[in-house]
Symmetry: C2
Subunit: 322 residues, 2 copies
């Protein structure tokens, strides 16, 4: 195998497959997608940089999975059905083994969600992955950040904080025993976007966001967009098996400020509680009620006994001084 592949060979060999739902896929100046009456397109782009979003030397198959997963998570948070995506890739070199593994991880998750790679760009440069996803949602049913209303209940899926617990171990902030590490590592390296839950919540939930920057930080985006406040019971946030065994302060930090789990945080009217639980069961994902949306501003964080906690769990900001 050659050490270096031409750009066009590279796309053809590792990423090109016949267009199915797209009218025209990889290989022209643009892909062509058919518009559908009564539907809206949900579009999002995410960039992953080596050393910031993933470690240098990261497993390429996991990286392919994760790069698409974090983008699918944005569609999930809108209640959109994944449809097509584009991949722009800067690589230090065209390494066939790396490309084969990366595309296997990427296209494996794509197939699992019925989303098609329709275009892209490859260039030489410091490793950088930029994906753009397109999904479809019926007119008026998108789960928007600005739709939370006082009186809504606040919900979260899964067990937030697992990915942050794994990251802390890899960074040397703490040491996990092998069974605990084994439980949380896949949550960091191969997150499962909550697409089915987002779809099932259409017409039930008001606002939704995916937890990428930390639960409280992402809640803050919803509250700011909606002009509302929230009361959050820190002890109501479900903990995974490994996280439940951690010291209280570490557990809370991981749950409330850890990103990268890509769980859904959403609000729904109290009278739709049963519908929420049915939607979650249908999607095969656990959900927990962790608080309420209230009039006013800001977050009142408390524990199960009702004692107020300082909500000083900074979320992840790529440009903050830290």
């Amino acid at each position: 195998m050659p050490d270096h592949l031409g750009e066009f060979d590279l796309i053809a060999r590792y990423f090109r497959r016949p267009a199915s739902s797209a009218l025209l896929g990889i290989g022209d100046d643009c892909a062509l997608l058919q518009a559908q009456a009564g539907m809206q397109w949900a579009v999002s782009t995410d960039m992953l940089v080596e050393g910031r979003h993933f470690f240098a030397g990261a497993d390429p198959r996991q990286l392919g999975h994760k790069a698409l997963a974090v983008n699918l998570s944005d569609l999930a948070a809108m209640g959109a059905q994944p449809h097509a995506f584009l991949l722009a890739l800067a690589l230090p070199a065209a390494d066939p083994r790396w490309l084969g593994e990366f595309s296997a991880g990427l296209l494996g998750l794509a197939d699992a969600h019925g989303i098609e790679l329709v275009g892209g760009d490859t260039t030489r440069g410091p490793l950088n992955l930029c994906l753009t996803v397109l999904g479809l949602v019926p007119d008026g049913l998108a789960l928007r950040r600005d739709a939370a209303r006082a009186g809504d209940e606040l919900w979260v899926s899964g067990t937030p904080g697992d990915a942050r617990l794994a990251l802390g171990h890899l960074r040397g902030e703490w040491q996990l025993a092998p069974p605990a590490l084994e439980q949380v590592l896949p949550r960091l390296h191969a997150p499962q976007p909550r697409v089915a839950l987002g779809l099932a919540l259409r017409g039930i939930a008001h606002a939704a966001i995916d937890v990428s920057d930390g639960l409280l930080g992402d809640l803050g985006h919803v509250l700011q967009a909606s002009g509302a406040g929230a009361r959050v019971d820190a002890d109501a946030v479900p903990a995974g098996a490994a996280l439940a065994q951690q010291p209280l302060q570490r557990r809370r930090s991981c749950q409330l400020a850890g990103g990268d789990d890509y769980e859904l945080l959403f609000t729904a009217p109290a009278q739709r509680r049963d519908a929420v639980l049915r939607a979650a069961a249908q999607a095969g994902v656990g959900v927990a009620r962790i608080g309420d949306i209230v009039a006013g501003r800001g977050v009142l964080l408390h524990d199960a006994a009702g004692r107020e906690l300082a909500p000083d769990y900074a979320s992840f900001d790529h440009f903050a001084d830290r």
Copy 2:
């Protein structure tokens, strides 16, 4: 002014404007775009890396312009009307001056073409710009690479090779006199995407591509997709004032193998020659007939006297060994 801005402040300060044509713009997990019956979406993504697509320390206003221009050029080559775009940006630091200039260049060209920034992502990392553009084209009218037919005439817009002439000066491959440099530098740094020409050619041209990798190389993509060959008269390719004064071999190299001009290369039936010329006049762009599409494979390159030339003008490949 702070040296470092938070990610969310950064988007809000430099890039956020109220959504107009989009249902929902920057600030949610996804942007929302309304589907339109009878229209297709043309979607493309391009990644620009420092040191490869532009020099380190490049003027940020020109860079903002160029990053969008090369993406608009992909829409032009499909005959699509620009509609919306997303910007993902990796930056070594959040420098307010750089960001202000970059966004002015970017949004200035966006306004000129009526295309709206609807979403994006910012992160810290080696400078990398990834844009995704979305345009609209009526069903069946897209200018595809695979639509060239034997008997079509081959056309190119503008004066290809100017950008490559400027690049050679900056790289020290040759020295240009100040007036010549002044003529070709804007062609490299601030290319004008041929959007109006692409729109005017709908229903007239068969195949189209934008010349980003070199005229002969990009022609090769059209011929491969269409299963056809071409005869090209090298002397029929128009030369700009500076290029016309260069030695013959350098002129031909720049014209036939130089990328980065973002002119349109397209084919149209011979009987539509007048319609092509009217479309070009309407778009305010010069076009020249430089050859013919023929049955068979490959390119026969010749000069004005009919003498065959070796078509050894390699186009730009980001992963080839050079």
